[in-house]
């Protein structure tokens, strides 16, 4: 797992309300998850409920609809996606990007080197910046 800067959401699901958050790529997660405060910040519309298995058992989670953008990465926005909502164990990351997002990309992890790369058919690859670099201009 590794951090990625995601931005959610924009047009077809929220009418322009958005929030920006760091996210963790989680290859073990079937679905993308947002923490409750991230959902509340944007005021997402609830569209379903679902059972999700987390550490300790199965919980009933609210499911919302969102748009996801990945600024500075060159990756295409995901206009409509289901996101489940539950408390996340790591306080720094309020979003887990699951395989429902990863399945849209070619995600390559070089274990010995410790780097990863994401590419799409129509855009150039996004390579993880070296440790300590200021990709986001903050």
């Amino acid at each position: 797992m590794s951090p990625i800067r995601g931005q959610s959401p924009v047009s077809p699901t929220t009418g322009g309300r958005f929030t920006e958050t760091e996210a963790l790529i989680d290859t073990g997660a079937q679905r993308t998850v947002l923490a409750p405060e991230a959902v509340q910040r944007v005021g997402l519309s609830k569209i379903n409920e679902a059972d999700i298995r987390v550490v300790g058992g199965i919980v009933k989670a609210d499911v919302y609809v969102a748009s996801l953008q990945f600024p500075y990465s060159g990756l295409k926005a995901i206009e409509v996606i289901e996101v489940s909502c539950c408390e996340l164990p790591h306080p720094l990351y309020r979003c887990l990007l699951g395989r429902d997002v990863l399945s849209r990309w070619i995600f390559t992890y070089d274990g010995p080197v410790g780097t990863w790369q994401i590419s799409e058919a129509s855009v150039s690859s996004w390579v993880e910046p070296p440790e300590g670099s200021e990709l986001w201009g903050e």
Binding site: P12, T13, D26, V33, I47, I52, R53, D62, V80, S84
Partner: protein, 78 residues
């Protein structure tokens, strides 16, 4: 799940439960859109279903978008 969140879509989920067996027979795998106790329609995928619901009901309201499956899936998260 907080109680106030649980109340959201309670009517729609009840309506779905009442009709699930009937819909399973002819629409398994499709997505159904329900608002209050009204059925909007059946759609082949989530995005088509959501867009139809948003076009009808707007962006700032809840409506149910649910895939019709015999067994409710459990998603592994962490």
């Amino acid at each position: 799940m907080a109680a106030d969140q649980q109340a959201r879509l309670a009517v729609e989920l009840e309506y779905y439960a009442q009709h699930k067996a009937e819909w399973l027979a002819r629409k398994t795998g499709h997505y159904v859109v329900i608002k209050d106790s009204g059925l909007l329609g059946f759609y082949p995928n989530f995005e088509a279903a959501y867009r139809a619901g948003a076009a009808t009901y707007g962006l700032n309201t809840d409506f149910l978008v649910k895939q019709i499956l015999e067994h409710e899936p459990v998603f592994f998260v962490f």
